[in-house]
């Protein structure tokens, strides 16, 4: 046990980042599960990464606007591609997503073979570490998420697949830089999975589960001095199983 990491100025921004990520990932995760395309976040993140690599190959070095533009641009292009595939081969969408993930990843390796330094930047971009997040970084992400949530709500993204893919691409490109791909996947799938078929009330339960998972994970990582992202993923998974088990028992009792 070790208490020196229990400092609200260390854990606070990380927890805020977690809540922010959950705000969009819980509703999007429910749609991802419904559509049966759970690996789409990995594919989109890889497309965004390809954009970063391309930016470096094109010598758009300065970290910041140009690189971000390429990342979001490639993610959105990927989203268009996946939407087009879904329209033509809806029964094969999961396999197409998996394939596009490895194709994007390998294209990245080939592009990188001439410029390994871009690999460092790619790692920085795709392997965001939640503890490195400061409050200042949360501001642009909050703006992006607010737009995503508003558009999703008013334009009914669950009824329009193209809109869903586009909003999803923008959301994941932002969140993956903040907390990394493992936490993105966990925040997307675990809360949504454990409250499956729970109707309207499920969303609140999923948010609560996610927040508790991030909170306990951060505390655990501080107390036992372990990498924060990995502990949060495990704590989300444990809580998710617990909630799913309780719901199952409750259903049996009621039924």
């Amino acid at each position: 046990m070790n208490i020196e990491g229990l400092d609200s100025s260390i854990l606070g921004p990380a927890f805020a980042a977690g809540l922010l990520v959950l705000s969009t990932h819980v509703p999007l995760g429910r749609q991802v599960l419904q559509r049966g395309i759970i690996f789409i976040d990995l594919a989109i993140a890889q497309f965004a990464g390809l954009g970063v690599i391309a930016a470096h190959v094109m010598h758009l070095d300065s970290p910041g606007f140009a690189v971000q533009l390429m990342a979001y641009g490639c993610a959105v292009l990927g989203a268009f591609l996946l939407y087009w595939c879904e329209r033509h081969w809806p029964d094969a969408q999961e396999a197409i997503i998996g394939t596009s993930f490895i194709v994007a990843a390998c294209s990245g390796i080939l592009l990188l073979s001439s410029s390994p330094q871009a690999g460092e930047h790619l790692k920085e971009l795709l392997v965001g570490q939640i503890l490195w997040v400061g409050y200042a970084q949360l501001v642009p992400v909050t703006v992006i998420y607010a737009l995503v949530l508003l558009l999703g709500k008013f334009l009914r993204s669950h009824e329009h697949p193209l809109l869903f893919y586009l909003l999803f691409a923008v959301t994941v490109t932002a969140s993956v830089q903040l907390v990394g791909v493992y936490l993105v996947f966990a925040s997307l799938i675990i809360p949504a999975l454990s409250v499956r078929n729970a109707g309207k009330r499920g969303v609140l339960l999923a948010y609560g589960l996610g927040a508790a998972g991030y909170g306990l994970g951060l505390l655990g990582s501080a107390l036992f001095d372990l990498p924060a992202g990995a502990v949060i993923v495990l704590s989300l998974a444990c809580l998710g199983m617990l909630v799913a088990a309780i719901r199952k028992v409750a259903c049996q009792v009621a039924g």
Partner: protein
């Protein structure tokens, strides 16, 4: 009630006393070799902690809450610099929000600032691989660099903790004389190593090669940081037939596969050498590190 108050007084007095007795300089280092050096120069006047261990690649670290907490409490942040930690140190400094250890403050020191680095690129070209603009940063592997850093570190500690300036000076002279003796011993022992042809996995060994006057005949990575390609490997095999190396060297954090592949095909022994303190069981401090480096290299010449 009176008894309780007395207790409070006793406890708080004890706490004050213990703080006075243990008012140490908190030294946080990026790499274990500098923590070991700070222990030598600071003795019990400093408390050291290192962000990385001898078994890990310093280019990447996993963020743990205690890491930020320790940098927040640090009075001195001592790192290699020259871009070695650029992937995580700036963000760690920013998150720790500790004005004592920001770049430019007395509490921030980059060892590479005090040395002339090897392998300074004449031009920066991304096609040349993972090249550090300021030169090769793996400076700890030349033992003649260590006294330079030790002196700079002692000066810095004297600025930060002027009340103990004499003690730092004492520790420094003691360390330097022990180091000088050891250095003479290593150079005597290592004489048969002169001109020893070696193959390395990654170009992290230039300072050791330069110090021992080894002969670098090949690198498993075609360019720093890039995985071997088949063309490069076949060229390397061909070269080994013309000009066979005596040993293939890799560091603890590099996978054994590439060097074992080459070893199997050529019959040249592959060894793992520690790159810093804690890199293997023998390298418990700076002296142990170089003892082990010289000993392991000698073992392949026999």
């Amino acid at each position: 009630m009176n008894g309780y108050r007395k207790w409070c007084l006793v406890v708080s007095l004890l706490m004050c006393a213990s703080q006075g007795a243990y008012a140490v300089v908190n030294v946080f280092t990026c790499e274990p070799e500098w923590a070991a050096l700070a222990k030598e120069v600071g003795g019990d006047l400093v408390k050291t902690a290192s962000a990385t261990t001898g078994l890990q690649d310093v280019h990447h670290i996993e963020a743990r809450p205690s890491l930020i907490a320790r940098v927040r409490q640090a009075d001195l942040l001592l790192c290699t610099g020259a871009g070695l930690e650029e992937g995580w140190l700036p963000v760690l400094q920013r998150r720790a929000n500790n004005p004592r250890i920001q770049a430019g403050a007395d509490g921030y020191m980059e060892a590479a600032d005090y040395l002339r680095l090897l392998d300074r690129p004449t031009r920066i070209d991304r096609s040349e691989g993972d090249v550090h603009a300021r030169g090769n940063p793996h400076i700890q592997l030349d033992p003649t660099n260590i006294p330079v850093i030790a002196q700079a570190l002692a000066k810095r500690l004297q600025v930060l903790d002027s009340g103990h300036a004499a003690r730092y000076q004492e520790n420094l002279s003691d360390f330097l004389s022990r180091w000088q003796t050891a250095l003479g011993r290593w150079e005597r022992q290592a004489r048969p190593l002169q001109g020893l042809p070696v193959v390395v996995h990654h170009n992290a060994w230039v300072y050791l090669i330069n110090w021992l006057e080894l002969d670098l005949v090949g690198t498993l990575e075609p360019k720093p940081g890039l995985p071997p390609t088949s063309t490069h490997l076949s060229q390397l095999l061909e070269q080994m037939e013309r000009q066979p190396a005596k040993v293939i060297i890799r560091s603890p954090y590099q996978g054994a596969r590439a060097s074992e592949w080459l070893s199997e095909r050529t019959g040249i022994p592959a060894i793992m050498l520690p790159t810093t303190v804690g890199g293997n069981e023998a390298a418990t401090d700076l002296f142990g590190l170089f003892d082990d480096l010289v000993l392991q290299l000698l073992s392949v010449t026999q």
